[in-house]
Structure formats: structure tokens, C-alpha cells
């Protein structure tokens, strides 16, 4: 087990460096001068421009900038935002709970609905139920997030007036930040209606962000279950006289879980990408919106720091998924160590 974990962690090192190179490189490939973007409409003398370049360390050759960047990273320094002059890590951590909150609710929605309907479709293979579920999930999977978001805003927010269309909570409430998770903070504040308002604001973004993972999870659960349902041990379970719930929900699902967990883990990446669009559409004050803003203002350090932090989160989720494999199916642990 120990070597299994160690091996997985060692594998993350090259991935980490790859990510830093990409994050560092991509933002520099964009046309535009960070210092000019900082100045905006105002004029700037060449001397002042050079002075700021020097201050930001952008006058050095690119390879040296990269080495400096890595050196700082390894010392836990993600740099300082050019725009706000605050440490990237502080800004990230401040905005991250909003993204996590939205991501978690979207993931819960996707898993809680996706896994059962995937199982159901597999058990009812070839019937109208199966075709219906798979058809709808294909539509969900193919839906562009921005379009789906706007559609829901128009219908639920505009035409029917059922849900708010932006923000995390009604401006009538002033909830003190304790954890950064507004649902929890709203509960802690004890303000009447604050929690309900926060929940109300989550509905549309959750649906929009959760749709694609939901569709993928449903489809993958179905195909993983189909593979497992023809296995001998499922027949054995039925031969014991167990109820269908136990046969499918325990004996078959436990074996199909490897695939399902992998897919769920991979969805974390999809969620982060989706969060950028969803947060922009719903003015959700999270990481996604912040990164987009940083790209527009050519805030090099914010973009590369943010991307590396997101990548690190995704890498840790994948590590956890790898470790879960061994717990779900002991055979994997034994063969790999």
C-alpha cells in the first residue's frame, strides 16, 4: 500500500512541471503587453514602462523568468497580482470556496441522479426506458454550457421569474464570511431566509454546471454496468435468491464502481472548465470568473498561479481516485504492489 501511494505521488512530479510550462507559456503567447494593459487608457512614458517591467521582472529573458517562477513556486510563493498587488494564493483562497461550493453541488447533482439512472438503463437494456435515458443524456452531453445557461436564465429567470439570474445571495442579506462557503455561512449567521436565498441562487448555476457531468456519468455507469451484469458472479448473486436491489446495487455496482469513480474523478477537470463559463454567465464570484478577468487584463502571475493551483487540485483528486481503486477492488492493490 505504501509503495502504491509513493509510486502514484512520484508520477505527479513530471505532470506538475508540464503544467507549469503550459501555464507559463500560454499566457505569454497571447498578444498584448501586461504593463500597457495596466495603464489602460492613460499614456505612459517609455521610462515608466521600463521601470514597471523591471519591477515585475519582465525585462529578463523568458527562460530566466521561468526559472525564477519555479524557484518561487517551490518555496510556496505563487507571485503577486499585477492588478491588485496582493499575493495570488490569498486571492485564490478567497475566491475558491465559491467555486468549490458550486462544483460540489453540481457534482452531487450529477452523481445522485447520474449513477441511479445509469444502473436503471443498464438493467432495462434495450427497452424504451434505456433508449429514452440515453437519448436525453446525449442531448445533455452535447449542450454548450453558455447556451444552456442563457436558455435557463431566459426561461426560469426571465419568462417565469422563478429563480434569480446572478450572484450568490440576495443583496438584502449581509452574511459574515466565516468559511467562505455561503451555504454554511448563511446557516451560521442565523439570519432568517439567508440560507434559502443562497440555495435559491444556486439552482440555475448548479443545473448548468452539472448537466454535462451528469450525462457522462449516466452513460458511463450504464456501460460499466452492462459489462458487469453478464459476469458469472452476478448470476451467483441471483442464484442466492438476493433481491434485485442487492444484486444490482451491491454485487454489480461495486464492480462497476471502478469505471464510475474514474469518470467522476475526470469530471473534476470538466467541472473546472465548466466553472469558468458558468461563473461568467451567472456573475458567480469564483475562480473561473477571476481567471477570465486576469486573462483579459494580462495579469501574468494571476493566470499562471491560478492555472497551477487548479491543476494541483485536479492532480490530488486523481490521486485520491487511484487510491480508492484499491479499496473498492482489492485485486488492484495486490497486483500493483
Amino acid at each position: 500500500m505504501f509503495y502504491f501511494v509513493l509510486k502514484r505521488i512520484a508520477l505527479l512530479v513530471p505532470i506538475f512541471f508540464g503544467v507549469t510550462i503550459m501555464a507559463f507559456g500560454f499566457i505569454r503567447m497571447l498578444p498584448g503587453d501586461p504593463v500597457a494593459a495596466l495603464a489602460g487608457e492613460r499614456d505612459m512614458t517609455p521610462e515608466r514602462h521600463a521601470e514597471i517591467m523591471l519591477k515585475l521582472g519582465l525585462d529578463k529573458p523568458v527562460w530566466q523568468q521561468y526559472l525564477d517562477y519555479i524557484w518561487n513556486l517551490l518555496h510556496g510563493d505563487f507571485g503577486t497580482s499585477v492588478l491588485t498587488n496582493r499575493p495570488i494564493l490569498d486571492e485564490f483562497l478567497e475566491l475558491f470556496p465559491a467555486t468549490i461550493e458550486l462544483g460540489l453541488t453540481a457534482m452531487i447533482l450529477a452523481v445522485v441522479i447520474g449513477v441511479p439512472i445509469g444502473i436503471f438503463a443498464a438493467v432495462k437494456r434495450g427497452t424504451l426506458y434505456d433508449q429514452g435515458i440515453m437519448g436525453i443524456s446525449l442531448v445533455g452531453y452535447s449542450m454548450p454550457i453558455f447556451w444552456w445557461g442563457l436558455l435557463l436564465i431566459i426561461l426560469f429567470g426571465g419568462v417565469w421569474g422563478l429563480t434569480p439570474i446572478s450572484g450568490r445571495i440576495s443583496f438584502l442579506f449581509d452574511v459574515e464570511t466565516v468559511t467562505g462557503f455561503l451555504l454554511i455561512d448563511a446557516l451560521l449567521s442565523g439570519e432568517e431566509g439567508a440560507f434559502a436565498s443562497a440555495m435559491h441562487h444556486m439552482i440555475l448555476p448548479t443545473i448548468v454546471l452539472g448537466t454535462i457531468p451528469l450525462a457522462i456519468i449516466a452513460r458511463q455507469t450504464r456501460s460499466a454496468m452492462l459489462e458487469v451484469l453478464s459476469e458469472d458472479y452476478v448470476r451467483t448473486a441471483r442464484a442466492k435468491g438476493l433481491s434485485p436491489l442487492r444484486v444490482y446495487g451491491l454485487h454489480a455496482l461495486r464492480n462497476a464502481m471502478i469505471t464510475v469513480i474514474t469518470v467522476i474523478g475526470l469530471q473534476v477537470g470538466t467541472l473546472m472548465a465548466g466553472a469558468i463559463l458558468t461563473e461568467t454567465i451567472f456573475s458567480w464570484p469564483g475562480i473561473g470568473k477571476w481567471i477570465i478577468f486576469s486573462v483579459f487584463s494580462r495579469d501574468y502571475y494571476a493566470v499562471q498561479g491560478g492555472l497551477v493551483l487548479i491543476a494541483m487540485i485536479i492532480m490530488s483528486v486523481n490521486l485520491v481516485v487511484d487510491l480508492l481503486y484499491g479499496m473498492i477492488n482489492p485485486r488492484i492493490l495486490h497486483t500493483s504492489s
Partner: protein
């Protein structure tokens, strides 16, 4: 009264090419403490007919029978919930591939305990005690430690022993063993068969042994059913069957045993292959391969008839008084 009574059991599958009859008019009756062996080639419907009794066929299968009763209860009209009370408790089954028949994600103890909990409602301690007892009974050394083992840590023979322990957990009245030794090596095969016969004796349960190994049949069975292409072609006492087989197919099958063809240059074979879904002959299904075939065999299907102590599906049986051989 017999334990399991089956009359005219048929199983059909709808395929793209049309209806495929996997089992065609099988009659069986199994008494308490009986050992019945079902023999036949692969695809002759021996497993499918027993899976039909267990209710383990996929929903695409169409099972029909004039009678399918277990202890006088009609299995065809039972609700699936009531049927599940019988399956695993009064009738249980072990399968061909022990290694893949155990769930890789759960320990041996869990898998045995599950049956005990489902049917007998035993509590945790009682389940553990009984599971150890069962593993001991099927000859697994250090049973207490084995409870925590996962299936991949067991050999094929061990896995089959665990399967047997699971099957006899609730003291079934009937145990169906579907080619229990096919996937095992020869020395283990004998041990498993011995174990099954001993358990059958001790527990007084009935045993249905599905196999294509004539040696196993000769050693264990009291009565034998021979199946061909989904049909039952002959049924008689084991001794009688080996001494005087009446159906040309049984005859040819026994002739092909290496032990019986000593001194011959070549092992006798049965020419041709078992008819598939599309090329079933009009008359007797064995007629294209039969040495004794006559015109009436090709014209119509012979009915299943009782002649003295033998049930036969043949117009021109071999070695029967008053019949030409």
C-alpha cells in the same frame, strides 16, 4: 412424491434469425436423495434447462412447461419474490467457472454470510460460526482465516469449495451442479466430485449433476438423462445406460469413450455436428448423424416414450427386445 417434477419444458430465445429453441420438451423428475446426471454436448440445453428451473435465464428467454413443480409448488406461477425464497435456500446451484463465480470485491466470509442472512436471518456471530462450520465441511483448511480472504487469493479448487459451502449453507433439498469440475484440473476434479457425493449422502439432499464427462456419470449418478440439441433423447438407470444404451446417440457417445475403444486404431467419432438454430432437420434431430437412420426418422419427430424402465425419443432403438439392431 418427487421433489422436482418437470413435464415438457421448453425454452426459446428470440434472435434476429428467428426463434431458437434451446430446450425442447424435457421431462425430468427428481426424488429426494436422488442423484440425477444430465449429459450432453455443449449447447445441448442441459444448463439452460436447469437455469430455467432456477429462474436465472435472462428476460429474453421464453420458458414454457406443462408442469414445473418443486415440492408441489408451481414454479411457473410463483411471484419472483416468492421464488427468491426457494432459490438459494431449498434449491441451490454451483457453476462451471468457480474463479469468476465469486464476486472479486467481497470476502469469502461476506459472500457465505449473505446467504445465511438472507434466508435464515442469522445474526453476525451466528453467521460467522456457521460459515466456519461450512468451510470446514467442504474441506478448507484453516477456515477461520479463509473467511477474510478475497476470491483472487484462492485457487480454482478452493473457489469451487467455497461455492459449494455457499450452496449448502441453508441445507438445500436440491443442489444443481452445472459442470462443477470442467474448469479444474484432473486431480482436483475427483476431489470435488467426491465432496459433492459425500455431502449428498450426509445431508440427504438431491443432486443434479450436469456434465459431459461420462466417467463422472458412471461413478456417481443413479439415473442419467441424455440430451441432444435441446431434446431429451434417453433416460434410464445409470447401470442400465452404460450396459445397454438404447438411443443411437447414447450408443455412439459411449462408443467414443477411450476406455471402450481399446485395441482400435482410431477413436470412434460421431460424424457431423449438432444442428444449429438455422439448420434443424424436420424429423429426428439426430437423424443426419445416425447410423441406424430410416425414412420415418427423417419424416417426423419421434415422441418421448416410456419403454419398460427407459424413457426414449427414438423410432428404432438399439438393443431393445423386438427391435432390429
Amino acid at each position: 412424491m418427487s421433489l422436482l417434477e418437470i413435464r415438457n419444458l421448453s425454452v426459446e430465445f428470440e434472435t434476429v434469425k428467428g426463434t431458437f429453441r434451446a430446450v425442447d420438451g424435457v421431462d425430468l423428475s427428481i426424488g429426494e436423495n436422488d442423484i440425477l446426471s444430465i449429459v450432453g454436448e455443449s449447447g445441448s440445453g442441459k444448463s439452460v434447462s436447469m437455469l430455467a428451473v432456477m429462474g436465472l435465464l435472462p428476460w429474453t428467454a421464453n420458458v414454457t412447461a406443462d408442469k414445473m413443480e418443486f415440492e408441489g409448488r408451481n414454479l411457473l406461477t410463483l411471484s419472483s419474490k416468492e421464488r427468491r425464497k426457494i432459490i438459494g435456500q431449498d434449491i441451490s446451484m454451483i457453476f462451471q467457472e468457480p474463479m469468476s463465480s465469486l464476486n472479486p470485491c467481497f470476502t469469502v466470509g461476506f459472500q457465505i454470510g449473505e446467504t445465511l442472512k438472507e434466508h435464515l436471518g442469522l445474526d453476525r456471530n451466528a453467521r460467522k460460526k456457521r460459515a466456519i462450520e461450512l468451510l470446514d465441511l467442504v474441506g478448507i483448511p484453516a477456515p477461520e482465516e479463509r473467511l477474510k480472504a478475497f476470491p483472487h487469493q484462492l485457487s480454482g479448487g478452493m473457489s469451487q469449495r467455497v461455492m459449494i459451502a455457499m450452496a449448502i449453507a441453508c441445507n438445500p433439498k436440491l443442489l444443481v451442479a452445472d459442470e462443477p469440475t470442467t474448469a479444474l484440473d484432473v486431480t482436483i476434479q475427483a476431489q470435488i466430485i467426491d465432496l459433492l457425493v459425500n455431502l449428498q449422502n450426509e445431508k440427504g439432499m438431491a443432486l443434479v449433476l450436469i456434465t459431459h464427462d461420462m466417467g463422472v456419470v458412471a461413478e456417481t449418478a443413479k439415473r442419467v438423462v441424455v440430451m441432444y440439441a435441446g431434446q431429451q433423447v434417453e433416460q434410464q438407470e445409470a447401470n442400465g445406460l452404460f450396459a445397454t444404451p438404447h438411443h443411437p446417440y447414447t450408443h455412439a457417445l459411449l462408443d467414443a469413450l477411450p476406455e471402450r475403444s481399446l485395441g482400435l486404431d482410431r477413436l470412434p467419432t460421431i460424424e457431423g455436428i449438432v444442428p444449429g438454430a438455422g439448420d434443424r432437420p424436420d424429423g429426428c434431430l439426430f437423424s443426419p448423424r445416425c447410423k441406424y437412420v430410416q425414412d420415418d426418422c427423417r419424416a417426423s419427430v419421434p415422441p418421448l416414450e416410456n419403454i419398460s424402465d427407459t424413457t426414449l425419443r427414438c423410432f428404432h432403438p438399439v438393443d431393445l427386445e423386438g427391435q432390429a439392431t
